[in-house]
């Protein structure tokens, strides 16, 4: 039995190296099966836990009526704008705090303080300030993206062996060039993890924000339906978000990681 399992496993591994997409899909199969069985057995009333078929059907209708594509587009635009600013502000701030003792002294307590106060706590005040538009959403997403990015960048900068700095300085690198030549690449593995965490949580924040300030978007869709008592759209929304994120992660973030940190031997595979 054990050897059989082992053989099956090694067969599976070989299969996934040949066709990586198999490795992407197979792990989900048990999950979907479990979901399907639970709903088929009516462990919970169907109104509370719809099955895969219901979700697919609602996907069909929402696509057909054009609601889903529109909402998806809105959500993605918000996310892109928010993430862009989150990264553009987060990485430089992280570098600053990681490099400068003085900036660390002043900013670190503030960072710690404000990172605990979540986006949701800010929302009531933000909507009064900025209204119910893109600004509020952007602020919330930036606010969410920025902390993981900053904290991980700081850690990355501080983990660069000191002799790297020294080598570059004594080879004539100016302080500004150090940033590009030493600090950024050296901190990159950590920055990537910060990005991954930050963008992931930005995605989450978008949902929370759309519930309250949205007129459209996946989060709005999910919770509007929820107010009317439907769970199908929630599940559908989760699946769409998860899939989108999967694509972003494995088509953008993971290749960058492979081409940098792993290539340079900074992280082991």
């Amino acid at each position: 039995m054990k050897t059989f399992l082992l053989r099956a496993w090694s067969r599976y591994l070989r299969l996934t190296t040949r066709w990586p997409s198999v490795g992407t899909i197979v792990p989900f199969l048990p999950l979907i099966a479990a979901w399907w069985i639970i709903t088929a057995l009516h462990v919970f009333p169907p109104a509370f836990l719809p099955g895969p078929a219901d979700v697919v059907r609602s996907f069909g209708t929402l696509v057909y009526t054009g609601v889903l594509p529109d909402y998806l587009q809105d959500s993605i635009v918000r996310l892109v704008v928010g993430s862009f600013w989150g990264i553009m502000l987060g990485i430089p701030l992280g570098l600053l705090v990681g490099l400068s003792q003085r900036a660390h002294k002043v900013l670190w307590p503030l960072l710690m303080f404000f990172q605990a106060i979540g986006d949701i706590a800010w929302l009531p005040i933000l909507v009064i300030w900025f209204g119910y538009g893109l600004t509020t959403m952007t602020v919330v997403i930036v606010y969410t993206v920025i902390f993981p990015v900053i904290l991980n960048t700081v850690l990355g900068v501080r983990s660069i062996p000191i002799n790297m700095h020294r080598a570059a300085l004594s080879l004539g690198a100016s302080r500004t060039r150090m940033l590009w030549e030493v600090v950024l690449p050296g901190a990159l593995p950590n920055i990537m993890t910060g990005l991954r965490n930050g963008l992931g949580y930005g995605w989450r924040a978008l949902i929370a924000t759309e519930i309250i300030v949205g007129t459209s978007g996946i989060g709005f869709l999910m919770f509007d339906a929820r107010r009317a008592g439907s769970v199908v759209e929630i599940l559908l929304g989760m699946i769409i978000l998860g899939t989108l994120w999967y694509i972003v992660d494995s088509w953008i973030l993971a290749p960058i990681e492979r081409a940098t940190g792993q290539r340079w031997g900074l992280v082991t595979k």
Partner: protein, 278 residues
Amino acid sequence: MLVFTDRGAGRPGAFRSGAAVMRHWVSSSLWFCAPFAVLLVLWAVLVPYFDVNPRLFPHLDAVVQAGLDGIKDGTLIQHIGASLLRVTVGTLLALVFAIPLGIAMGVSPAVSGFLTPPFRFFSVLAGIAWIPVASLWFGYGFGAITFVIFNAVFFIVTYNTLLGVSTIPLQVRHAAASLGAGRWAMLTEVLLPGALPNIVTGIRTGLGFAWRGLIAAEMIATNVGLGYMLFVARDFYKTEVIVLGMIVIGVLWLLLDRLLLAPIERATSERWGMVQRA
């Protein structure tokens, strides 16, 4: 402004005597508080000066008053107590699962190959979206709230642990193996300490998100907790209570970071020279 030199080196002459240690402690505490003092002063001066409507942003004294009231009638303490308990339980649960998983994924390509797709998929699904489903599984109330917090901490700590493990130089792991370290010793003696700087950063960000998750989760099935306090305050436009809640959360978290995480960091990864001193 950028300081590169002498970061690993000691500072001669510091902390020679008890008095010096005291002085250092006082000065670092002052430095720590200074940014907040500036914010408070700005707040106390600017809000009345521009005559900001309390619905937009409350006056400092109103917030102080709300805090005093809450302390006097005991409700604030109750809210804090309830929230702290939930955050603690949710976070601990998350750590218990996240750190081993992160290590397993960092060590074994097979595990990470199989788990990475679902892991990536689920990592972006917000806690509140889970509430309807989670409450079916874990029970409405404490179960669902704990799950939301767990969900907020779990992924971030796992990713950071994973990174921490994979940045341990291979040779160090080899050294331990050839000195006879078994699986367990490898875990406790090499992987955990080696990944520690990253784990701490993971916990630091994760806990931040735990508080956020809490606020969202305490909208359901409860009549106590800071999230609940914010929620009710919002319905009655009590901005001073909202801001009070934010400040309480921030301060709690600062205390936690300064009294727990920062000392851990100082005693470990900084002490070991794995990261440069801040």
